[in-house]
Every structure is written in C-alpha cells, then in structure tokens.
C-alpha cells in the first residue's frame, strides 16, 4: 500500500477522466456537425437548382382571332397552331424566309395553341376580335431568360440562335416578356415539353398508391402485431414467423417489385402501370415494418396495465382493445407513417411493374396508368433538356416536402397521444 490518501488518488485521476469525457463529447459533436453540413449542402444544392422552376417566362403576343382560321361551329377542333404562327408573323413582319419562320415559331411553347383554344372555348365571342395574350414561352427562351444559356457561346453550341436572341431582346424591350408563377408545374401531368411538364400526374399516382398501401398495411399489420404479441402461443412456429418477418423487412425493395410483376401482373393479370399494383407491392414491402414497429409499441406498454384490466375481469380481448392498444397506438401510428414515408420514396419496385412509363394524363383512379413522384424524378433526371434539370430538383423539393410533412405528423401524433403512466 502506498501512503497516499484515497482522495488524493481520486484527485490525480480526475483531470484525465474529464479530458476523456471532453474528447468524447467533441467527437460526437463533430460527427453531428459533419452530417449537418452534408444535409445543408444537399438541401441548398437542390434548392438552388430547382427554385427557378417555380416561375416561368411568358411572351405577350397580339392575336387576331381570325374567323377564317376558326371554325365557328366547332372551335375545339380548329387549327389554333396556325393562329399562333400567324400572330407571331404579324408581330415580326420582316421574317420572310421559311427557315427563319420556323425559328420564330419556336419561341412560343407548343402549349400556346392550347392556351388560345381554351380562351375561345371559354368565350366564343372572342372570334373576330383582337387581343393581346400572354403565351407560354418555349423552354429554350425560358432558359435564356433565367441565364442558363450563355449568349457568348458560338451559335452552334447553344440551343437558341442569334436571330432568336435578337427577337427575344426586341420583345424584352417592348415589355412583352415576363415571369409568372408556374402553376402548370402543380396542375399538369408529364409532358415532352419541359415548360408544360407538371408534377400532378405523378403526385396523384403516388397518392393512390399510398392510399392503397395504407388501407391494406395498417389494419393488417396492426392485426398481425396484436395477434403475435398478445395472443399467439410462444412456440417454435411463432419463433419462425417472427424470424421471417424480420427477414422480410430487410429484403431489398426491388425483390418485391419482381414479386409484384410475377404475381399481380403475370398471374392475376392486373393492369400494368396501375397504382393498384404499385400500392399492393408497396403494401407487401411496408407490412413487415409495420408489424415490427407495432409489436415494439405493444411491448412498450407496461404489463401492469394488462394486469389491471385482467384483474377487474376484462377478457384478454378487452384488455388489449380497451387498454393496451390505445397506449400503443401512437407508436403504431409513428411506425406506419414512417413506413408510408419509405413507400413514398420508393422507386425500384415500381420500375418492375411498369410505372416508369411516360404518362401524360393525370390518373383518375387506381387502375389508370400512372407513375409516382420518385419515378417522375428519375424520368426527368434522365431527360436531355436543360429545363428538366430544374424540374427534377423542383420535383425532389415537392417529394421532400411530403416526406417532411409525413414525418412531422408522426412526431406530432407521438407527442400528442403519448400518455405517461
């Protein structure tokens, strides 16, 4: 034994202990800062890439709704394309050569003719009148206006030629160009033309899919969790079931896509590209997660509550339904929402069942062909036009917003319904 007092030994070691603690804290803190930096980098790059997609260039063109071009009896089938071209020619009367005319027509989106048609359909009295109309600009014009096209590049290296730039400058000088909020991005389906491509089709597809997934997986998952946790005899078979559920939760999602292809499409002949099939596949994918989180939520209810209920003569079923389930519900809801969020972000299995197709129409039901938000992002990211780059980022923002909303709901539900005991 040395003659130091125990307190001295403790004192001597203290500095070292505190140092260790400090170092540990620092390591943890730097890990968090590091990951936060990545997150900030990710979000800001998405935002910077995408925020310009929310507004869009428009050109003001004087249009004479020429009765010669517009069939009064059936304006819907009239040649509005010709009307747009004629109006452009009158705006720039000195363009004579065929090739140049074609370039001139390229300034306005192909959507322009639909805009005019909608105007006439809404108000047939327009025919024979002059109107100054804001028409959607072509995506190349939009890109030039947003500064994505470098005017100093040689003409052959850009998608917009010198004459076109000249016309645009003239229009700008005349106050005939402006940006407006891009409503179409939220109300249109997909399109080959970036300026009229929208997210609604994919969002509706995702919505129908998630609705099916939720309607199937929540009750079935909760039912399975309750049965396994509260009623099943604890024996080999339940052990095997449990192991398999855990394994299923870890199966890569594309495998579920293949399963959906084999079972739902090839065997049951359900429609291809339909949210119905997508929802079924995502249901299979989320079910194990919901069962597992459901069981954890049930396990976390203190056994004293069960005993209390059984002690006053509740049947097992009543004890579970009246007391255990309400207490486990916040946890179950959280699990379900997180499962849904995962399903919302899933694209791989959807590729397998044909939801990767180019679909313009907004799906009106669960059997209409549709695509989903993440798949739409994939499709746009794959498109060559510059304008699709910002739309990709904008679509990612929309998807992330939904995800954040869903996770926020989960947190809210947990804190709202969590009861202390």
């Amino acid at each position: 034994m040395n003659n130091q007092k125990p307190m001295d030994i403790v004192q001597a070691g203290l500095a070292k202990r505190y140092k260790k603690e400090k170092r540990f804290k620092l390591i943890g803190l730097s890990a968090i800062i590091f990951s936060l930096m990545f997150l900030v980098f990710l979000f800001s790059s998405i935002f910077l890439n995408g925020y310009k997609a929310f507004y869009q260039a428009e050109l003001r063109i004087d249009v004479f709704f020429d009765p010669a071009l517009l069939d009064i009896k059936d304006p819907a089938s009239a040649n509005f394309d010709a009307l747009v071209k004629k109006s452009l020619r009158t705006t720039f009367p000195d363009v004579k050569k065929r090739k140049e005319k074609k370039k001139l027509y390229g300034l306005v989106s192909t959507d322009g003719s639909f805009q005019l048609r909608d105007m006439v359909l809404a108000d047939p009295a327009l025919v024979g009148q002059n109107r100054s109309v804001w028409l959607l600009a072509d995506d190349d014009v939009d890109m030039l206006m947003k500064g994505y096209i470098d005017r100093n590049l040689p003409q052959s290296d850009r998608r917009i030629s010198d004459v076109q730039i000249g016309w645009i400058d003239k229009l700008i000088d005349a106050g005939r160009v402006k940006f407006r909020f891009n409503i179409g991005f939220f109300t249109n389906g997909d399109s080959r033309e970036p300026e009229s491509a929208g997210i609604l089709g994919a969002a509706m597809g995702s919505f129908y899919m998630l609705a099916i997934t939720l309607v199937l997986s929540f009750p079935i998952g909760i039912g399975a969790a309750i049965y396994l946790e509260e009623f099943a005899a604890k024996n080999r078979i339940t052990d095997i079931i449990e192991v398999n559920i855990n394994n299923l939760a870890a199966v890569p999602s594309i495998v579920f896509g293949l399963l959906g292809l084999a079972v739902f499409l090839n065997f049951f002949h359900l429609p291809r590209s339909a949210p119905l099939v997508g929802g079924l596949v995502l249901f299979l994918m989320t079910l194990p997660t919901i069962i597992i989180t459901g069981r954890v939520a049930l396990q976390s209810v203190p056994p004293s509550i069960r005993e209390a209920a059984l002690g006053v003569g509740a049947s097992k079923m009543q004890a579970v339904l009246h007391h255990v389930l309400p207490l486990a519900m916040p946890g179950m809801l959280t699990g379900a929402i997180i499962g849904m969020a995962r399903a919302l972000g899933e694209s791989a299995p959807l590729l397998m069942i044909g939801m990767v197709a180019f679909i313009v129409d907004i799906p009106a039901g669960i059997t209409d062909p549709a695509t989903a938000l993440p798949v739409q992002i994939y499709l746009w990211a794959d498109s060559p036009e510059r304008a699709f780059v910002e739309r990709t980022s904008a679509a990612i923002m929309v998807l992330l917003t939904f995800l954040v909303l869903m996770n926020g709901t989960a947190v809210y539900l947990r804190s709202k319904f969590e009861r202390r005991w």
Partner: protein, 294 residues
C-alpha cells in the same frame, strides 16, 4: 440467496453467518415433516386449496400447499422474498394464466366451483376474486373511468346514473371519495401513490367481488399512506374476504386474523395471527419472525 439452496448440494463450505443459518434452515425443512403446522383448515371456507403445486417451466415454485380461507377474514401471507407468496396468491384468481410457462396442479375451489376447471370462465372469476397489485396501476384515464371500467364491461349498471352511483360508493368504501370528489374527470395517474393504491382498491370493489387479493399493497407507499390502507383493510373485512401478501410482519400482525408462513415454496404454518407471532409451532416460523433470516 435462498434459491441457491434449493439445489440439493449442501453448502458445507459456506462461510458467512447468513449462509450457515440458511443451510441450517434448509436442513430443517428436509428433516421435518413438510406438513403445514397450525390449523390451515376451517369450517365453511370461502376458498379451499388442496395439494396445490405450481411450476414455472421445470422449476417448482409452490409445493403441495393446502389451506382454507374463510368468510370475512383477513388472511396474511408472509415469508422471505421469492418463497412463492405472489405465485400462490395469483393462483386464487388465475392471474397466473398470463404467464406462459406457469403450470398449476391440485385443487382450488371458490365456494364449490373448481377454479382451475376447464369450464371455469376466468372473466366472472376475476370479478368475484378481485386483485390489488404491488405497484399502484391505475389506468391512464380519468378517476371516474378507472372505477367505471369494471362495472361497464360486466354490465353492472343499466344507466349512467347507476354507474355514477357505483363509482361514488366504491370511492367512499375505499376512503377516497372526499379527496377526489371534485376532480373525478382528472387522470388517476395524477394522484399520490397512496391515493392511487386506494383508487385501485376502489376499482376492485366496484365490480362487487367476494374476495380481494392484495399483493404487498403497501410496499411502494410511505408510512402514512400505509397506515391509511391498513385502516381501510380493517374496514373492508366486514364485507369482503381479504388475502394479503406482505413482507412486513407488523402489518400482518395489525391487519390479519390468520397468518400463513411460506418458506421456499412450502406452506409451513397457518395459525391465528396472535398465536403465530407469539407461539409459532414451526421452528422456521420462529426463526423468520424473530428476524434470524429473511
């Protein structure tokens, strides 16, 4: 500590005083007749248990216990911890059913019906034999709902007024009415520990039981709350048969008419409480009540 000794190897190498006492204790049980000393049987019992054995898997927790419980008495069960008091108590309303590996043999009767009969429905059984647990466990609901739950599921009240009446009577009987009458809609979990335990007693009373089982109802409470509960038990015994497990011998002496002493799964002695604490018939009972182990 005592569990180690249930294996058959005598620990002759044991050094500590405690261990010596315990090995001696074990040997005593081995030598002597395990038959229950005192007077475990009564005339006209409410509940009677004969040759009850309880196993957790392979491990036997209760060995060949026979005892009667008579009308309107308070029976205290004492014994060192882990000796099977709770296990036996939970047989009386089949709460042991919730434990998968638990197996019960022997005969347990409430009046003349066999508790462990296949045809016995545990739902009415548990209404007749209520239970109060060691840790107060009110539902995370309002005070009113805590009491009203039992009567509601059993359909004891035809109208809301009747239900409210049951709630009030139960709270009065449990001595809690004056403290909570103004806040029946507030959560039961917000009460103090002693109040919570009385709430649990009121909850048990509300379904009109004949027997109330209490498993160390005061072990989580402070002395004042304990005294209140003990008073309550003395009052309740006029209407109910009460079986109370306690590790507190003074408490057993204060509240009970008869006391049963459990030792490592054996029921060694059942006597009138004053007899058991003054003139125990079994050597081990004496060792325990004089504090030589426990």
């Amino acid at each position: 500590m005592l569990q180690i000794l249930s294996s058959n190897t005598p620990r002759s190498t044991a050094k500590s005083r405690e261990e010596r006492i315990q090995s001696k204790a074990r040997m005593l049980v081995d030598r002597e007749d395990r038959c229950t000393a005192g007077d475990p049987f009564v005339e006209n019992p409410r509940m009677s248990c004969r040759n009850v054995n309880v196993y957790y898997g392979d491990k036997q927790a209760i060995r060949d216990v026979s005892i009667d419980i008579s009308e309107n008495e308070v029976l205290a069960m004492i014994g060192p911890s882990g000796c099977g008091k709770s296990t036996f108590l939970r047989c009386l309303n089949r709460m042991n059913d919730t434990i998968n590996i638990c197996r019960v043999t022997g005969e347990l009767k409430l009046d003349d019906s066999d508790i462990y009969d296949k045809k016995m429905d545990v739902v009415p059984l548990r209404a007749r034999v209520g239970m109060v647990f060691q840790k107060p466990n009110p539902f995370p609901k309002s005070i009113y709902d805590n009491i009203a739950y039992g009567p509601t599921i059993h359909g004891l009240a035809a109208t809301k007024t009747e239900l409210t009446e049951i709630v009030e009577i139960s709270l009065i009987k449990a001595g809690l009415w004056d403290e909570v009458k103004d806040r029946l809609d507030q959560p039961g979990t917000g009460l103090s520990g002693g109040q919570q335990q009385r709430l649990c007693i009121a909850r048990a009373i509300a379904v009109g039981p004949e027997v109330i089982l209490m498993d160390e109802p005061c072990s989580a409470l402070d002395p004042i709350a304990t005294a209140t509960i003990e008073e309550l038990i003395s009052e309740l015994k006029q209407h109910y048969t009460i079986v109370i497990v306690t590790h507190n011998m003074q408490q057993a002496a204060r509240v009970s008419q008869r006391t049963a002493y459990f030792h490592l799964g054996d029921l060694l002695e059942v006597s009138q409480t004053d007899v058991l604490f003054t003139r125990p018939s079994h050597q081990l009972t004496e060792d325990y009540i004089t504090g030589r182990f426990g």
